[in-house]
Point group: D2
Chain length 336, copies 4
């Protein structure tokens, strides 16, 4: 095996950092060297699980032997670390979002563009095998011209109210993933956004100034249409489906279950419920993100999702927020 | 069998008239007496198939022995015949729409309300066994509180351009059915409508002043949401699906196929395509419409869909048309 | 409509007779003239529902205006009525079996062969749309050469013990339908039968000298294989499936449900249970049997199933019975 | 992590050895130390991929630091290596079969029983998540009493004729897996076997003295029934299904596909074909076999499949072979 080793540092030692560290451990081409977290014990624990050292972030950016940085720290720190990774010439995989406001995001994006490095953003759904197969089938012309896209995306249960208060709202925190999927599959700039929504799941969410249920319609510059539907709660697990309708057919990505075992009894023919939440549903996808960064780092290929994708999805969230407030279709060019 | 016989006259002798006449022939409680059509030979042909007489419409309305009238003539004549049925005290099943404009519709509705008769409107989908089971499951509380409704409705192929020119447009001609399904399932007044759409199937449809693809979002007065999606063309037949999402679960009505036979070969596991179009898909539903009118006539029960439902759906079509033109959400109380 | 009218008499006035009478009423080409039953009131009731006369059987066979006889009386009378229908030159649809013993069956078959009339046997499954589509797909070469056939056939609940005592046993009473389906689809003489079975559902069935669960393997003369599996009880309704495996693919006929509505909740994704029993599952098939007889009577075409098919299936039941008793494969040429 | 490290040696360096070595590499509790193969370069290549040493087998059995041996060499060598592992006190995972003849197998089983070590046999299907869920559901009483079991198992294409000649025949080479699944799920001794089969796929298989298509019926000591169906070729990939029918319901394990993406077009609604063959279908299962051995080695738990299971399945293959030759049901107690 003549493939080079990519020396990796992870900033953050929370749940997602653990998922990525485990993926790194399974990939012989990636060596986890450092873990850093403001909670030193958390960093120490994760580092020791993988034979890495627990260090402060300055050590990471100062060490020329580090090829790549994975940013899985709190959202407020993403933009700064992203900029430091770019200016120190390190490949970077940054969890989304870069920042909750567009200005800060734009500034970071500008820095990365000024210091080109392999820069991947953690839009995990682009790495999901079923969604990737759907994307490939569209590109292969399986459905002719894609005309309408329908994305249904529902969480099993809302996050704590405190989380919601700092989340930027449903469009920035939850639908942001769907905006990215829409952009990825439509493969064309969005021209306008109409959003409507309400509070159906928990009045406390409304009291916190947010909504928990939403329907959005996107129109692309050429006039194609996309519907996105979100709910913060289901009775049955994580609901993640995509329907791509085109002139020559339709593609449907459906929910995954733990196994395909079917039970038939008095009540009917029962398939398992959808997988519970994102860690279960997108487990394979998380495992592929670092490999994608490795490819970008070693071959110069484009990551499946980049800082630019993060920026554009944020603009859609901002447009949706404005549309909901003003109850009208908002043009993307109204958004900074 | 002590059930009374309902003497029926059919106005119109086209395709749908034939479907209804066949349903009448299978129901021993219904006697088809008269058929009337401006094309005398057509009326004669249909009448002779069922042992009925071909007459002019005045004969129908003048004959006290006629209990019920089925209006399946051209759209422009619906309102007048509906009014005549009401004023002559006959039960009536009227194909939709009552009229293409709201004022004419409202006038006819007022006449019917002033002369109460059993008045059913031909919204066939309310009679579909699968949709009816979905409605019953909602009412039985199977999904708790209904929160969002998603209706996907696509025709296999667009009608001729000449038809489109006189159709009133996609919202009045095609989505009107989905508006009715939405009203039926949401069971609550609609507060506002947002519509977007475009021409993706055939530029000639655009040149005729219409669209062929549309996405609409309805908001009910209590804030619940409904998405409706239409296309005038699929590669695979008639696409008619409903998804009702609620606090305690989800119900999905899916496409019907001719049989459930599955073939597995090199290309994969293949189920039959959806049934081709409405006569195939809603064959059972058409067969039930006259029975529903019979029940209303003989027992005084309310028909599954009434002239009022026809009027309200038309208002939604008008609101959607205005929304598309003005690219904003339109409140229903803006519509007459 | 220049199609001739077929004047029909029904012998028997039980549940199946009612089903057939209703089918006759829906077909304008068939006129039900007589009903006969040893229970005069039952005959009277059915006759009056359809404007027919209640008569004794001699009247039926003596009336030259009667074109066709439907035999739905008790099994013990089938053979005699079948012979009388043939010798009086009437088309006949006989419920299966012709008789429970092979000798009596053979005698009746010989009489019919000596007096050729349109003679259909009530193997309803040949008329089922899904099974018919499977048969057509095999004949169209969809799966290349058919190599193995698997038939799973389970009743929702066992019949009363008294019925079982007079039924001839599971192979003659229940699997006889599957033997016919196997013969129909394999379209080649069966060479040998191996049967095994046991009592799992109800010990009383064993005490009555019968089994309630069975597995059979048929081998055709060219060496192809067929597996048939029966149970007298399920927890979930009528289980009727066929899998045809061939060199170029596989066809699977699956269970039917009342509607295709799917519910998703905490327990999973739930489709309706299979239709409850044969009247629900094969309702369409029953409705087609008389039409098939009409075609045979009016055009001389072969009915989908004939007296010969009844005889051959009975030989398979006899071979299975012997195989079970002797715990070995039995060659068909050992059976009379 | 206080879990002990299990030092592993692999005998054999073919395809399956590579699969197991990769699984070992992903498990931090397992250290691959040695690889041995009669083809030294093959051993060298595999060893170097994983930082192990290429050695002769004597070195493996002489090294007290080796805790476990994985036997993936040619079938003819399995029994001897299994015995050596047992007598040198090493845990062992042996690919199936132990030997092709019962006597040799019995001798090896006796040696293992005399020198108790953790001994796992490579019946990969017991480790498949879907089948394991089916087993767990049976044990949880989901279907009440299991009454009949149906196993359909078809390969995508036959192996080379030379392989077939040395394989021991379909029952020993292919159906052996299904015999093990049947024993595992029925959880009760088999009393008798009836087998029938033929040559439908390739006459050359018949000329080599084997069959390529088979149907078998097993009867347990308490009288329950199991059907197994094999074909050496499909048009659509690897067909691996199980249906467990019981007094309270039915469980069905169905084929796996690469993704669940569905395409709908003119021809119908198309799911992906089943995964191609065993490496794809049972990839997860292979990855779990070493973990199961680790558990047995470290905790003394029983492996999911043992040498005893290997022996008993071989007896079923022998009984099936005799049944096919003599065209009768063979009692297991006739087999040594």
């Amino acid at each position: 095996m003549s493939e080079p080793i990519m020396n990796l540092a992870i900033i953050g030692a929370g749940r997602i950092a653990h998922v990525h560290a485990a993926a790194a451990a399974r990939d012989p081409r990636i060596a986890l060297k450092y873990v850093s977290d403001i909670r030193a014990e958390a960093a120490e624990a994760l580092a020791s699980m993988h034979g890495a050292a627990s260090v402060d972030v300055d050590t990471i950016f100062a060490d020329d032997a580090i090829d790549a940085v994975l940013i899985a720290s709190s959202t407020a720190t993403h933009a700064e670390f992203l900029e430091r990774a770019a200016t120190t010439g390190k490949a970077v995989l940054c969890e989304k979002p870069i920042a909750l406001d567009i200005e800060r995001t734009k500034a970071a994006v500008d820095v990365v563009n000024a210091h080109p490095v392999a820069c991947a953003l953690g839009f995990n759904r682009r790495h999901d095998p079923q969604f990737a197969a759907l994307k490939a089938a569209i590109e292969a012309g399986r459905i002719g011209q894609l005309e309408t896209l329908t994305i249904i995306s529902r969480d099993p249960a809302p996050p704590p109210i405190d989380y919601i208060k700092g989340s930027g709202g449903l469009f920035f925190d939850m639908m942001i993933h769907d905006f990215d999927v829409a952009r990825w599959l439509l493969d064309e700039p969005i021209a306008s956004v109409f959003a409507s929504g309400g509070v159906m799941v928990d009045p406390a969410i409304g009291e916190a100034g947010d909504i928990d249920t939403a329907m959005v319609v996107l129109t692309t510059e050429s006039g194609r249409l996309c519907h996105i539907q979100n709910s913060r709660r289901t009775a049955y697990g994580y609901d993640q489906r995509i329907e791509a309708f085109g002139s020559a057919g339709m593609l449907q990505a459906v929910n995954e279950t733990e196994t395909r075992l079917r039970y038939t009894g008095e009540a009917g023919q029962l398939d398992e419920p959808p997988k519970h939440f994102f860690l279960e549903r997108y487990g394979i996808a998380y495992g592929r993100e670092l490999g994608d960064l490795y490819d970008a780092w070693s071959t110069g290929s484009a990551p499946k999702a980049t800082h630019e994708d993060g920026y554009q999805s944020l603009r859609l969230a901002a447009a949706a927020t404005q549309s909901l407030a003003e109850n009208r279709s908002v043009r993307l060019d109204e958004i900074g």
